[in-house]
Symmetry: D2
Subunit: 354 residues, 4 copies
C-alpha cells in the first residue's frame, strides 16, 4: 500500500538507488498558487550532505512537477505528478548487501514478503522515500497556509540529553516547543559522540500544530489522533507516539487533567490543554501537540553480524553513508506528514444541513 | 468514517442509548466454523456491571448474527451482519447533558462537527461502541485461531502502581506479560482509592501477539506498526502507543539494541527482540508487543464545570454510571482490535511469482 | 465487496432466507429530516406480492432504523443502521436446490467462489438484497430532495413490445419518459403471456435525472457515467447500459449530434442534449438519461436441466415464487441507485480556491 | 479520482500538453518478468500518427519505468512508476480554445468543476491519458499471460457499416470476433468518407476474454460486469456497454436463452454462453464478451459554434489534429482496461477454509 490519505491522497514510488523517486498528489483544490521556492525550502531542510552530523550522501533533490499545475503556477485540481531523479547513488557501497541481511533492517523482511528486493541502499525501505512525503506535505502546505495553520517540529531529545518539558505553555494555552542553546549544543554533542564511537543514538521529536479550527476529524475510525499515529508510525525509525499529555496521563487522576471551558469559549475554548487539541477524535480548536520516539539506526560504524539467505552468519562492516541520529533529520518529515493529515481532515468536513 | 480495515472490514453503527449497536464484518473467509460460545466469552470479558470496580451499567450483550453464517455454523464468505440491542439504558441519567458539554468529553466537538448530537450516554462517542469491535475481533479470532496466533493483553499499570517491566522475555525470545498477585492487588486498590475519592485514574495496557509468521505487513503506508497504532489510537482514552522497546529506544545506542540473527534462523530468526517483531513495517516472525497509555476518564464523581451551547459555565454533577479506570476493561478490546489487524494482514499477503 | 459509494457509502448484508437483510448508510449529512412515510413509499413500490404479475412472495418490508437518526427525526451525521426482518420465507420451496445448480443462476458460481452457499432463495445472490438498496436510496433522497433533483425510472419495453422512443424531449431540452396507456397495456399483456406459458421475458427500463447542477463528477476514473454504469450493472439481470443517445451514437456522424450552446447558457447551457447531461465525465447541467436492458429471469415455470455438484444433470421443476419479468419491479431500484450516486457526487464537489 | 482498481491499482496523472503523462501501478505480484518489447508493442498499437485515418499527432510514446522492476527485469512487488514525456505537442494549435468552450467536449464542464483548466489539447480530459492505461494494462498482461488468459478487442462497426454478428461461436462455446476483409475495407471507407467530408463517425468495439477461470468476481457491488462497465465507461467516447447477449436479451424469452450445463462440466461448464461468462457477478469459466458503442468525436473539420466564458457564441474552426473515428484506436485501450480488471479480480479470490 503506497497511498496515504483518503481525499488528499499521496501515492508514491521509488527505490533508493533506482532511477527516481516520485509520487502523485491527488485531491488538491484547484486555484492554489504554488510557490516553488517555499517547496524547495522544505525539501532542502530534509537534505543530507549538509549538516556534518547527517549522512554524507549528497542529494540535490529538486522536484520536477509533471502535471496538475498551470503554466502560471496555479493548481488545476488534477493530480500533481512529480519526480526526483536519484543521483549520487553509489550502489557499489552496498555490494555486500546483495547476499546479506542486516540486523534490524528491513532486508530480511522484504525478502520474506517479496521473495526478492533491491538491496541497494535499502531499496524501497530506504528513508529516501521520505523525500516524496516532504514534497506531498510541501504542496499541502501551499494550500493550507491560506488559513492560519502552522506546524512546527523540533528535535527535543538525543539519547539521555533532553528537554525535560518539550512543550511550553503560555497564556490562553499558547504553546511552543522548548528551545535553549545549551540543550541544543548538548544534543549535537551527543550525536557527535555516538558518531565518533562508531555508534548511533535514538531521539525524540516534538511537534505542535496551531491554528486548527474545531470540528475536524471523522470518528469512529478516522479520529485525528489515529490518523496522526498512522502517519507518524509510517516513518521508519519511530517506535512510539503520544499526544497531549500523553504517557503522563496514565499516571494521573482525572481531577488533575480536566481542561476547563473558558466562558463564552473565549479567547480559546479551554483554559488549559492537557487533551492535546483533540477530544473524541475531533479537534477542539486548541493546538495539537505530540511526541515521537525514534530508535537509533541499526547501521553503525562497526562490523555487525549479518545473515545470508541460508542463515549463515558473517561479520560484515557495512559501507554506505548513514546518519548517526536519524531523528535529527526527521522534523521536516514530521511536519510534512502533519500537513498532509491536515489537508485530508479539511476535505472531510461534515456537511451540515440546517 | 465508520469502517475499519481494508480487506477484513468492520463497519459499525450505534448510539449508546439508541435502539441497537451493530456492524457488518466483510471479507471473512468462507468455511470458518463459528463457535458462539467462544464469541460470547470475549464479549463477556468486556462487560460492565460485573466487576464492582467498573461501570454498573448492566449490559447483557448477546449478539444476534443476522447473516453470513450458515445454519450449521460456518461462514459463507458473505458479510456478517450483527446487532446488540441496547437495554438498561437509563437515558434520564443524562438529562443534564442535553444542554451541557462536559469537559474533556466529545460533547463539544461533536456539536462543532455535526451541529447536533445524541447526548444520551455519549451517543456515538460512547465506549459502548467497542462492543462492536469486540464482536468483530471475536469473529476474526474464530478464523485466525486455526493458525498458531495468540493475542494477550493485560492491565500493567494503574496510576503510579505498575509493573516495572511489563514484558518478560524467556529463551528464544519467548515473551509473556508480567503477572504478580501483589501488583495486581495494588493496582485494584489504586482503582478503588480513586473511586472512593470520587476521582478516576489512568493506566497502561500491554499486549503480546505470538505465532505471527514473518512477511506480513504492507509497506510503505500499510506498515504493521502503523496499522496497530491507528487501531489502538481509535480507542477513546488512549493517549500513547509504543511497540517493541518503544520509548526506551529513544535513549539507547544502536549497538545496544541490535537483534542478532540466529544461525539458520532457528529456533527463531533473531536471538533477541528489541524490535518488537516488526522491521520495515513487516513482521519478522518474532512476537509483536506494545504498550498503550490510557488517560483517566474525565467523568468523575464530583461536580465539574460544564459549558452550555452559549458558553455559559455551570457546575454540574454528572449522573450516569462510569468506570473509575477505563483501562481496566480495555484489554479485551485491545485484543479484539489486534485480531482484526491480523486478519487484515493475512488477507494482504504478497503474491509472489516464481 | 458489499459497499457501494465512496463518500456516501452503503454497506449491506443479508441472505434471502436468513434472519434479516440490512445495511449501514455512512456519510449522510447531519440535520436532514427523515420522513419515514416517504421512505416506506419507496420501499412499497419495490414490494412483491402486490401486482399479480410479480412474485407472490409477500414481503412486508418495514425497515427498522437502529441508529443515526435522532428521536425527533433528524440525521445525526453518524452511520444509519437499518434492518428488514425476513418473513414469509418458505425455505421448503427450495429444498431441491440444496444439491442442484440452476442454469443461468448464481448457484454454480457461488459454489465455485465460496465453496458453499445458502441455497434458499438464492441466498446472498437474491434480488431480495435490493430492498437494502432501496432503503439507501430512499434515505439519500430525503437529503437530496432539499435541492431540485428528481429521478424517474419506468419500464419502457417488455420483449418485443416497446416505446420506440423512450425519451420525449420538449423545449429547452426538457425531458420525460414516454407514457401511453396502450403501450402500457400491451407490455403487461406481454408479461402475462410469458407467465401463462411458464416462461419469462426481458425488458428495458429508462431513467431520467433532472435538476442536476453542472460540475458534478470526478474524472478520470470517477466519471458520472462510469458510476452510473457500475451501479446499474450491479443489478442482477441488467445486461446493458447506455446513456444519452447511447447506442445510436455509434451510427451517427459528429455533425448530427453536436449540442449547441445557448447564448448566455440560458435558459439551459445547451439547446439539445444528445450527450445525456454528461461531458468528460462531469455533469453539464442538462438532464441525465439512460436505458437499461434486462434479461428474462432464468427461473421459469417449466422443468429445467439442473446440475449436481458432481456434474450430473437432472430435470427439475423449481418451486418458489418468481417474477415473469424482473424488469417490472426494477424502476424503483434504478431510482434508488441513482439517488445514491447523486449523493456521492454531491459529496465530491471540487474545492476551488479563488 | 485518478485511481483505477482496488488491489491492482493504477493511479495516473498528466495533461495532454503538459510535461509528461505517467502513473503508478501498485499491487503487482513480485517476480514477474517484464518484457519491454511486449509492452512497447501494446503501446505502439495505440499510437497516433501511423494509420493515415487517425490523428496525425506523432506520439513517440516510449515509457520510462522509474521503479518497481529490478535491473534484471523482474517486478519487485513495489509500485511501478512510469512516465511518458509529451512531445510534438503543438500548443499553438489550441490558442483559440483558451477562451472558448467547444460543444460536446469536456471544456465547459472542467471549467464548471475546477474554475480553471489546461485548455491545450483538452488537458486532463484528453484521450492522451489513455497511454497511461495501456501501460497499466500492458504491465498487468505481463503477469496474467503466465496463465491462459487472452483478451482481444476489434472494431466491429463504423457508422452504419457493421458486422451483423460481431461474435462467432464455435463448438464448446468457443468464441471469436468476426473478421472479414470486405467488411474491414467498408469500415475503413466509411471513416475515410467522414474525414473527407470534414466530419466524424461513431463505431462499435467488441471484446472477448478467454481462459478465465470460474469463481472470479466479488458480489454484491464488485460484480465482474460492474467492474468492466465502470472501466469501459471511463473511456471518453463510450456511450454504451453490453455483455453477453446484451441488449438482445431484453427482447428474449427465458426459455430461449438458458445455457445448459454440460455433463460433468466438461469440456466447458455450459454448452452455450448467452450469459457472457458471468452469472451473479462471478465468472462461470466461459468466455466473457461485450460490446461498446462509441460516439463520433465532436471535433470535426468544420467551423462549430463555441461559447466564451461569458456565454457569447463564436463560430470557430478548431485546429489541432484529431481522429475522424475514435473507435478505431480504441481496441488496444479496451484490451488494456480488461487486463487491469482481470488483474484486480485475480487478487480478490475468495479465501476458502476447508
Amino acid at each position: 500500500m503506497n497511498t496515504f490519505g483518503e481525499r488528499l491522497r499521496l501515492t508514491t514510488f521509488g527505490e533508493s538507488h533506482g532511477k527516481a523517486m516520485g509520487g502523485i498528489l491527488d485531491g488538491m483544490p484547484s486555484g492554489v498558487e504554488i510557490d516553488m521556492e517555499g517547496i524547495q525550502e522544505m525539501i532542502d531542510r530534509r537534505r543530507t550532505g549538509v549538516d556534518p552530523l547527517t549522512s554524507q550522501r549528497r542529494e540535490t533533490d529538486v522536484p520536477e512537477i509533471l502535471s496538475g499545475v498551470s503554466e502560471d503556477g496555479f493548481t488545476l485540481g488534477t493530480p500533481i505528478g512529480f519526480i526526483f531523479r536519484n543521483s549520487d547513488a553509489r550502489s557499489g557501497d552496498y555490494s555486500e548487501l546483495a547476499d546479506h541481511f542486516r540486523p534490524n533492517h528491513a532486508d530480511y523482511c522484504y525478502d520474506l514478503r517479496y521473495g526478492r528486493r533491491d538491496y541497494r541502499g535499502g531499496g524501497r525501505a530506504s528513508a529516501r522515500e521520505t523525500v516524496n512525503w516532504v514534497m506531498g506535505g510541501a504542496l499541502a502546505r501551499e494550500w493550507l497556509a491560506l488559513y492560519d495553520f502552522d506546524v512546527e517540529a523540533r528535535l527535543t531529545a538525543v539519547g539521555h540529553v533532553h528537554y525535560d518539558e518539550p512543550f511550553e505553555f503560555g497564556e490562553n494555552a499558547e504553546i511552543g516547543i522548548a528551545y535553549n542553546d545549551d540543550v541544543e549544543a548538548a544534543m549535537r554533542a551527543e550525536v557527535e559522540r555516538a558518531r565518533s564511537e562508531g555508534d548511533s543514538v535514538g531521539g525524540r521529536v516534538s511537534c505542535v500544530i496551531t491554528g486548527v479550527p474545531g470540528g475536524l476529524g471523522d470518528p469512529v475510525f478516522g479520529k485525528v489522533q489515529a490518523r496522526l499515529a498512522q502517519a507518524m508510525m509510517s516513518l521508519n525509525a519511530v517506535k512510539g507516539f503520544e499526544y497531549g499529555m500523553g504517557s503522563r496521563m496514565a499516571e494521573a487522576r482525572g481531577s488533575e487533567v480536566i481542561d476547563n471551558f473558558n466562558e463564552g469559549f473565549c479567547p480559546t475554548p479551554f483554559s488549559s490543554n492537557h487533551a492535546g487539541g483533540v477530544l473524541g477524535g475531533i479537534t477542539t480548536g486548541m493546538p495539537i501537540y505530540f511526541n515521537l520516539r525514534f530508535k537509533p539506526t541499526p547501521t553503525i560504524g562497526r562490523p555487525v553480524a549479518m545473515a545470508t539467505e541460508d542463515g549463515e552468519i558473517d561479520i560484515v562492516q557495512a559501507r554506505g553513508r548513514h546518519d548517526p541520529c536519524v531523528a535529527m533529520r526527521a522534523p521536516v518529515i514530521v511536519e510534512a506528514l502533519s500537513w498532509m493529515v491536515l489537508g485530508d481532515l479539511m476535505l472531510q468536513q461534515q456537511l451540515v444541513i440546517s
